[in-house]
Amino acid sequence: MSTQTKSPGIALDYVKTIGIVNNGFNGRGFANPYDIVVGKDERIFVLNRCDPARAAAIRVGICTMDEEYLGEFGKGNGTGDGQFIWAVAMALDSQERLYITDEHSHRVTIYSLSGEYLSHWGKAGAGDGELNGPAGIAIDSSDNVFLVDQHNSRVQKFTPDGKFIANWGSLGSGDGQFNLPWGAAVDSEDNVYVADWRNDRIQKFTNDGKFMAAYGSSGEDEGQFRRPTSVAIDSDGFIYVADWGNERVQVLGPDGAFQLLLRGEATVSKWGEDYLASNPEERAEREVSNLTPELPAHLNTPYHISSQTEPYFWGPVSVSLDRQGRLYVTETNRHRFQVYQKR
């Protein structure tokens, strides 16, 4: 199975898949993960969005690249200190404090990487510094915090403790306008990128919000997007996009030109192997099954294909990068992430 389009500019090698579905109990596995950040010590922090029926699993899980599960932290579902209702995205500042957005509570909650609740800020509203559905979050080299304020159709810039600095954007599809924007990222020059979700494009701004460029249009061809949710930029300026509605990841060059496409090639994680080892009857039938089947025409959409094709991305909501040039693709509907290494 080949799911990569090779190009001279960049190549990514599949490394592994980490994860298993967690039904809400403590312990390894993930529950509809929505984002990943990687600490300086290479610990991987996974944000479990989950749902009201399994509220106990709304938390941050921690693991390593060697698939050692280190534990989890969080204070459950709600609006109390350290709690979440609809958690969306995470970012680390220079002190490795972990910022987590909650689009239902309209606030940002800050934890230490040891799992200690530190503080939260954010107030519902439409005025300067007020929030309506904060989604993506990115932090620049000066620790300025950029929040995608989705229902206010804008990006807002804050100090780390939540003091308003600036904002830009309005509802629309013109340059600098947004329609339910989602993910955010900054590059090595502190430019700001936004996944303009319902406009099917990525927008690039200067650090103070001047429009620089827009990449992509609606569709399924290379360089086109369906509801991009997340964006990340590596040290060479390559732009990674979670093309969520097309159930794939695309990489653009620094100039925004299409470079590479991933459809997903998940293998069984170590935790998955443990499960199958203790369920030999299931494993035996799985081994003779075709998990990349041809589907009838009425199921020939990216969503349906991914719902039946286990190795493919299903709900690839977030793209994250670490200092080693590794790409982490978080899959909400498969409770796992796939790791790729830049060559």
Binding site: V21, R227, V288, S289, H304, E310
Partner: protein, 472 residues
């Protein structure tokens, strides 16, 4: 005085949909009755809440792993569609071809079945039975994955004849066997692995894997079969071709459609409509759409006798109240609780109690269910913050002289705008007496949530508690 055109259109929309607020009613009235029937029976763009929005906010409705989120996903569709007949016919087939989550542990595929009902539910019955027989959820539900050329499993073949078409007494045990032989090899992809996962409710390692149809030629019994007097090397499609031309099948389909869309009990006058639908079944080439047109245009359906002749099913009750109130216009926490409410009333979406579906009509009403029904509708319709209720308040104000309604105006206005609903003299006098306790209602300067608006909310709450509101 209730306008008869309006009352008739409201009747049509309670049956071909989930009731209608006054704005919707006026849109359909502008088409005329026949035009409205055509529009309802030829769904175009449903304009329902888009999947991308639902998936973004409800991860459980993106993955569709479990029952509550999956039922809520269908709820959103029914609440927000502008083609209500498409959902109503899907709900009808869901009750008739009752396939339940409990055995499947596979909500995505169950919802794919519902999608199939939307696609094929108004087309020819022959095509619908063909799609049903290739539906992976149905295949697992009635064990056709265990129906092999070397050893048949009669479960699907038996129910196809007994519950999905001709009805008991119109075929022999040998016909069941021959029918089952014809469906050998009709299975789903990775059938053995998927059956184990379903039986164990396995979600590991990476959640559910949805299902698709697969035909295994090597497992199909290609030998000669004799079915209902015809002989040949029949495959499943041949069996369906024979089934759909039987008088008993026509009668079965017409009766079940009538009981769901017209009246719980078939009266003498109703019998004529059933016979007309049966005739249309054959003359149209088994087209459900044409049968429904025959019903909706019949004298019986338009008559007073057919009005309020059905007990609303829980889904109709809940969806109708939400659509009237205008709540849940966007993805919101709490929708899964609403879908659970229908379960407490006796009708859990995607979880019919048995292969026979739900027992409808008066069996929907027992003391526990009635309390749930009244409480839910009363709560929805008395919330003066809801856009649909605000619209009712504005219309009441506009209809009143100087914005002032006397107690009769208030009771009659609320009955009109929630239907029109026809109530007994006794019920009406209770409503008027209640309204009289606080004298005339002055809405001329009403403000959101003020006492005047609350009085409207209270009257709507009381109407929702009437016997007549329980009927469609």
């Amino acid at each position: 005085m209730i306008n008869n055109d309006t009352a008739l259109m409201a009747h049509l929309l309670r049956r071909a949909g989930f009731g209608a607020n006054r704005e919707e009613l006026e849109q359909y009235l502008a088409m005329g009755y026949d035009g409205a029937v055509d529009a309802l029976l030829n769904p175009s763009d449903p304009g329902n809440m888009p999947d991308d929005l639902i998936r973004r906010y409800h991860v459980e409705q993106s993955e569709l792993r479990d029952l509550p989120g999956s039922a809520a996903y269908w709820m959103y569709r029914m609440i927000s569609t502008s083609c209500p007949m498409e959902e109503k016919i899907a709900l009808f087939w869901h009750g008739l071809f009752a396939t339940g989550y409990a055995k499947l542990n596979q909500a995505r595929s169950l919802l794919n079945q519902v999608d199939m009902f939307r696609r094929s539910g108004l087309g020819s019955y022959e095509d619908l039975l063909g799609d049903l027989s290739q539906d992976p959820a149905m295949i697992i539900w009635l064990d056709n994955n265990e129906n092999h050329g070397s050893a048949i499993n009669e479960n699907y073949g038996r129910e196809l004849l007994e519950l999905f078409s001709m009805g008991i007494g119109n075929y022999s045990e040998d016909d069941i066997k021959e029918c089952s032989r014809a469906f050998t090899g009709w299975t789903l992809g990775n059938a053995e692995y998927m059956a184990i996962r379903a039986a164990k409710d396995s979600i590991w390692p990476y959640g559910r894997i949805a299902w698709h149809f697969d035909y295994r030629e090597e497992d199909h019994d290609d030998g000669e079969k004799t079915f209902l007097g015809e002989t040949g090397r029949f495959n499943g499609q041949d069996i369906i071709r024979i089934i759909v031309k039987q008088d008993s099948t026509a009668r079965f389909v017409a009766t079940r459609l009538f009981q769901f869309f017209a009246a719980d009990v078939i009266s003498e006058a109703g019998e004529k409509a059933v016979q007309a639908m049966t005739a249309t079944y054959f003359s149209s080439g088994y087209k459900i759409r044409d049968m429904m047109r025959t019903l909706f245009l019949s004298d019986y359906f338009k008559s007073e006798e057919a009005r309020f002749a059905r007990v609303k099913g829980p889904v109709e009750m809940v969806v109708g109240a939400i659509r009237m109130a205008g709540s849940y216009q966007n993805p919101a926490l709490g929708i899964e609780k609403v879908s659970n409410t229908m379960l407490y009333m006796g009708q859990g979406l995607l979880q019919p109690p048995t292969v026979e579906g739900w027992h409808e009509g008066s069996e929907w009403i027992n003391s526990g269910a009635l309390v749930e029904r009244v409480n839910f509708a009363a709560k929805e319709l008395s919330d003066v913050r809801s856009p649909g209720v605000r619209s009712i308040i504005d219309r009441l104000e506009a209809s009143a002289d100087q914005g002032v309604l006397d107690p009769s105006d208030l009771a009659d206005g609320c009955l009109d705008l929630l239907g029109p609903i026809q109530v007994s003299d006794e019920t009406r006098s209770i409503l008027v007496e209640y309204a009289s306790r606080n004298g005339d209602l002055d809405l001329s300067d009403h403000q959101p949530g003020d006492e005047a608006e609350q009085r409207v909310g209270n009257m709507l709450r009381l109407v929702a508690a009437t016997r007549e509101y329980q009927l469609a």
